[in-house]
């Protein structure tokens, strides 16, 4: 390996590699065959160097396809990387070669990886005064001006090295290769403290307020050598004061028969392969052009050793200087000619050329056909940003028009043609960006002093291009069936003509009818061509037709990059209480309640190997329930929402928001309350604790804590700004332990020797300050189980200490949310969101008593006067006892009146909302919302479960201790 690494590229190993190419030799495998390439290659250039012509096959027709372009506009050469990690649907032209790369060509469609991606991906936010997209001549000039004046600049370019068009042309700047100039200039900029140069970074989306999304490929090109702790790809979320789009242009092709054969290639791409990658994409070429640019390509390729068999120029008058140079070199220029067909079996072997005047076509043997149908400015981002486009007659393409954002295009992206003009245009854009960002603009000529705008060689005066989209020689079959407009989607002129024939006159409609432009290359090479063919068919101007809409992403982006680090444990925040570590250590299983992890139940672990599997959920919950009803048990209740409501009008606010009266609550006491929406439906419930005349602590359900605070703020800020009340969340200030069961008083007395716990001193629904286990605490006598119970609140810093103190004696059974649900259901206490669904009133829940008749008003009051809320057939919360006490009804099961199902639609009376096994009742039971349910107590109904109709008896929703005898112990 080391000896190879010193070797220059071997001609034998890489038959199409130019002499003198140097670099480290890299080994790779493509479609099962071993090849060598050179460092700096793309997979496409390495394949071309090895003479591989057909790289992939097309998606619909299965036709062989070769490398067509040299960048991210590539429509054909789709590959899948197999090793070191599978990645589908990549363009061979953008995959940097590395040692050990294994890839296969794709039939237009990739395969998802079947193993997890071990790489890191991340995202980062960035801000700058000026974002320059594209590090070609215009972009470098713009960034240079802005950066040297001290602005915060980000220069992003999708390729591994800066230079843009300079990488493909052989142009010189200040007498040295443009590539060197670009590298040095960008290195100098990168050294400035406020400049960030992002290589291998594709700007994908341009949104409002100059919010720009880019993806940086950071270690993809390192293959297996990529360090594991460096994110493979990074999503950049950039906010830019001003954006300069120096995105250059894409060459487009022309529709003629066989224009998809391997060996047909964009002229500029071939030039790039010859100059930049030192690869000859063929031996003998025909050039087909509508403009001058292909002449430079032809001459460069001729210099590189490709035989140029002929140049077919659709124009009668190509640029004189170019014609002269060709004559000098002995290259045949056929003016007024078109290529009528590329021919060959599986790849180009000859090119058919004909005069536009008519006459006999001539077949020229060639293995390469270079096509230039003109150049299209890359206006994707400008259009995404909301900019309009206008047709540039001379260019035969759309260029940026008006925009509502602080964005401008520079260089060829706005149609500026020559290198010198692009450099100056970029510098001007940089100056405007500086001024807009509030920086002093360097005085001086158009090209500011101190900015290296190098002198470019004189370029020949350009002759106008002719915009030819379609060669009207329909090919074999006469149906334009191999005149491709979209190579990736296999869309031909024949199909576009059929679309137009079917009456479609808009490019948007033709796009949807034919799918042209919808492939993952997003029609970079095909969009305008399709428009041109449609215009031709309709006999209208391309300018009239306009373009289809440009949408993000500019190039495909991996889902892994978009997911970034938001996966696995970091996918969504996990909220935990102060006692969480204890629950984990005790082997609790957890239930997700919103983002909270709450202990669900605490199964007793099996002891000894094998014999004892430990408890299942049913056994654990029955045991926990029994402890709470017969002994003493404790639950971590810290997740309940808590809001401090403070101010002289605090009682007024609560009176208006709860259905019952809160202002009459005495300091030291607690009241249960229900909040409704204006429609009278239950929104939340909880307790209200009066701490002082002007101070309450409101508790909410775990899931609704934020919503209730928002609700209070909404009313205060929009309807009742006169009320002097402030609401402050204290949910996590407090940790709460619910101590439940007939022996809870005894345990509390031991933990809080200073607290009088007898029923007279500390009655139900009151609270006391006390020291519990040596910790300052607020103890509330509240019960959500019907048993004697306390809720002990301490600073969340001391939550674990309190919990450990409660558990220390070993006599208190920890219980989880499942047991809590069973206990409350036995008592008929509803859970908002489980037994209610936004269509349930307090009265439906059997809680008429909580709706004040005395208060002048409260949110929801008016709705209780609506006829609908007193309909007798409203669904009421009732209990259900399956006739077989061992049958557990599934929650959600429907209820019908008859023991056999009638023909559909089956009238349903309601549904099961909660269903459990009860230790206290010794049987299963359920809660349900049933139409006119309270009038049906004692009736038998049926729940269809699978194929069976399970008979159940309707009962009161309060199934356990209906007299409330147990709450005082």
């Amino acid at each position: 390996m080391s000896e190879r690494s010193e070797r220059t590229g071997g001609a034998a190993a890489q038959p199409h590699r130019r002499e003198g190419a140097s670099g480290r030799v890299l080994r790779f495998r493509f479609d099962g065959r071993e090849y060598e390439g050179l460092e700096g290659d793309t997979l496409a250039s390495a394949l071309l160097a090895n003479g591989v012509r057909a790289v992939a096959s097309s998606i619909r027709l299965g036709r062989p396809r070769g490398v067509y372009a040299a960048g991210s506009e590539e429509p054909n050469a789709l590959v899948q990387i197999e090793e070191p990690f599978p990645e589908p649907m990549l363009q061979a032209t953008t995959v940097e070669l590395y040692d050990g790369l294994v890839a296969t060509g794709l039939p237009g469609q990739g395969r998802l990886a079947d193993r997890p991606d071990p790489a890191r991906y991340d995202a980062v936010h960035a801000h700058c005064d000026v974002l320059v997209v594209g590090a070609g001549p215009a972009g470098i000039a713009a960034a240079g001006v802005a950066a040297r004046a001290g602005a915060r600049v980000i220069l992003a370019d999708e390729r591994p090295e800066p230079g843009g068009s300079l990488l493909g042309t052989a142009e010189t700047l200040d007498g040295r290769p443009g590539r060197e100039w670009a590298a040095e200039e960008v290195a100098a900029l990168a050294a400035l403290p406020e400049v960030r140069v992002l290589r291998r970074t594709t700007v994908l989306g341009h949104y409002d307020d100059n919010h720009v999304i880019a993806v940086e490929r950071r270690t993809n090109h390192l293959g297996a050598a990529a360090p594991a702790d460096v994110a493979r790809e990074r999503v950049w979320r950039i906010r830019a004061g001003r954006v300069v789009l120096a995105t250059g242009g894409h060459e487009r092709f022309v529709a003629f028969a066989g224009n998809d054969l391997p060996g047909v290639m964009l002229a500029g791409a071939a030039r790039t392969y010859a100059n930049h990658y030192r690869v000859l994409p063929g031996r003998r070429a025909v050039v087909f052009t509508t403009n001058d640019s292909a002449y430079a390509a032809a001459l460069d390729l001729a210099d590189a050793g490709v035989e140029i068999a002929a140049i077919a120029d659709v124009r009668q008058a190509p640029g004189e200087a170019w014609a002269a140079r060709c004559a000098e070199r002995g290259l045949e220029v056929l003016t007024g000619h078109v290529v009528t067909a590329a021919k060959g079996e599986g790849e180009v072997s000859s090119v058919e050329v004909a005069s536009r005047e008519g006459g006999q076509a001539r077949e020229i043997p060639a293995d390469l056909l270079l096509v230039s149908g003109g150049w299209t400015p890359v206006v994707h981002l400008f259009s995404q940003a909301g900019g309009t486009l206008r047709y540039d007659e001379e260019l035969g393409a759309f260029t940026p028009g008006e925009t509502r954002q602080a964005v401008e295009a520079a260089g060829f992206a706005r149609g500026v043609r020559t290198l010198r003009a692009c450099l100056e245009d970029g510098a001007e854009a940089g100056r405007r960006a500086l001024a807009a960002a509030g920086f002093a603009v360097p005085a001086g000529p158009a090209v500011p002093s101190g900015t290296a705008v190098p002198s470019a060689g004189e370029e020949p005066a350009a002759a106008p291009a002719e915009h030819l989209w379609l060669v009207e020689a329909p090919g074999d079959g006469g149906d334009y069936g191999t005149h491709f407009v979209d190579l990736q989607r296999d869309v031909t002129v024949g199909e576009v003509l059929r679309a137009v024939g079917a009456g479609l006159t808009s490019v948007e409609h033709v796009k949807r009818y034919t799918t042209a432009g919808t492939a993952h290359d997003q029609g970079k090479t095909s969009g305008l061509l399709t428009g041109g063919v449609v215009a031709h068919a309709l006999g209208v101007d391309v300018a009239e037709l306009g373009t289809t809409t440009f949408r993000a992403p500019y190039t495909p982006v991996s889902f892994a990059a978009l997911a970034g680090r938001d996966r696995g444990p970091l996918h969504d925040p996990v909220r935990v209480t102060a006692m969480h570590e204890w629950h984990v250590a005790r082997g609790a299983l957890f239930e997700n309640v919103g983002q909270w992890k709450r202990p669900w139940y605490y199964p007793r672990r099996g002891e000894g190997p094998g014999e004892d599997p430990g408890e299942d959920m049913e056994a654990a919950v029955l045991r926990e329930c029994r402890a709470a009803r017969e002994d003493v048990a404790a639950m971590d209740a810290s997740t309940l929402g808590k809001i401090d409501v403070v101010g002289p009008d605090a009682a007024v606010l609560l009176d208006r928001l709860y259905t019952n009266m809160m202002s009459t609550l005495k300091v030291g006491s607690i009241r249960y309350g229900v909040m409704c929406r204006p429609d009278g439906m239950v929104f939340d419930d909880g307790t209200v604790i009066r701490l002082a005349d002007d101070r309450f602590l409101v508790t909410t359900t775990t899931g609704n804590a934020a919503a209730v605070l928002d609700w209070m703020e909404e009313w205060l800020q929009t309807e009742w700004p006169d009320l002097r009340v402030c609401c402050t969340s204290v949910t996590e200030q407090w940790a709460t332990v619910a101590l439940v069961g007939p022996r809870s008083r005894e345990v509390l007395a031991r933990l809080a020797p200073g607290l009088a716990v007898d029923n007279d001193s500390f009655p139900f629904m009151t609270w006391r300050d006390a020291e519990v286990a040596g910790i300052e605490a607020r103890v509330c006598r509240i019960s959500f189980s019907g048993e004697l119970a306390y809720e002990i609140n301490v600073s969340s810093w001391s939550g674990l200490a309190l919990w450990e103190a409660v558990m220390a004696s070993g006599e208190v059974t920890p219980y989880g949310t499942e047991t809590m649900h069973v206990l409350r259901a036995e008592k008929g206490f509803p859970i908002v969101g489980q037994d209610t669904d936004g269509t349930v009133t307090p009265q439906d829940l059997g809680m008429e008593w909580i709706v004040s008749k005395k208060k002048a008003d409260f949110v929801g009051k008016r709705s209780f006067a609506r006829a609908d809320t007193s309909r007798p057939d409203r669904k009421h919360l009732v209990g259900l006892l399956p006739e077989d006490p061992g049958v557990l009804l599934p929650e959600g099961a429907h209820l019908v009146e008859t023991s056999a199902l009638p023909e559909p639609p089956v009238p349903t009376l309601g549904f099961v909302t909660s269903s459990y096994r009860s230790a206290a009742l010794g049987r299963t039971f359920a809660l349900a919302l049933v139409s006119g349910g309270r009038e049906r107590v004692g009736e038998r109904l049926y729940a269809p479960v699978g194929a069976d109709l399970v008979p159940v008896t309707v009962t009161s929703h309060v199934l356990y201790d209906p007299e409330g005898a147990r709450r005082d112990g």
Binding site: P573, T577, V646, S796
Partner: protein, 204 residues
């Protein structure tokens, strides 16, 4: 008597556990390279104060605690023993040392002198995480959409914002940033910070 009170206070203090206590060792390890410092400052006093900024009470409170309530949005004032963070047009967070809450609540309430204010001890509602060192901005930029450049968010700036998917109060100091994180989110934010730091601490 005094001794027994002190002993009982000490006993209960000893039982306290801060929300990110479990991360102390990993924070220390991540800070070893020098480019980044992660740490928790546990048990700071934090008092949520709501008062009309134009009221005499607001002025009296400023005088009483020796720090005028900052009225410029997104700023902090003070910085000695007490720091006052602007949270909203009529809302501040008064931050002080461990154990200062009872005295501070009393001073604030007394200074209000019966005018409508809301003084709520929220010391345990959030904990304080430090993200400092040369790479602090790089780490935070992975999850915070705000521009933290010193020209924009220099020392004395405060924001209520999102870090990844958790709401935080972000405070810029002369020596890095402090994040005031809801206690239940502390473990998530700590894990997130450690994960975001991997590239900046691994291999120096």
């Amino acid at each position: 008597m005094a001794d027994s009170v002190a002993a009982s206070v000490a006993a209960s203090m000893a039982e306290r556990r801060s929300p990110a206590a479990a991360f102390a060792a990993r924070f220390e390890a991540a800070s070893a390279g020098g480019g980044l410092r992660l740490a928790e400052i546990p048990f700071l006093t934090q008092i949520n104060l709501r008062v009309d900024p134009k009221s005499p009470a607001a002025e009296r409170i400023g005088t009483a605690i020796g720090v005028p309530l900052p009225v410029e949005p997104g700023t902090a004032a003070g910085g000695g023993d007490l720091e006052v963070l602007w949270l909203g047009p009529d809302e501040w967070l008064v931050v002080g040392p461990d154990g200062a809450a009872p005295g501070l609540v009393e001073r604030l309430t007394e200074a209000a002198d019966g005018e409508h204010v809301s003084v709520v001890d929220v010391s345990a509602q959030r904990t304080t995480l430090v993200v400092a060192g040369d790479r602090a901005r790089d780490v935070l930029a992975h999850g915070c959409a705000l521009d933290l450049h010193p020209r924009v968010f220099g020392p004395g700036r405060v924001a209520q914002t999102m870090l990844a998917r958790a709401g935080v109060v972000l405070v810029a100091g002369a020596d890095g940033f402090r994040l005031l994180v809801r206690s239940s989110f502390a473990a998530y934010v700590a894990e997130w910070l450690l994960d975001a730091s991997v590239e900046y601490v691994a291999g120096g």
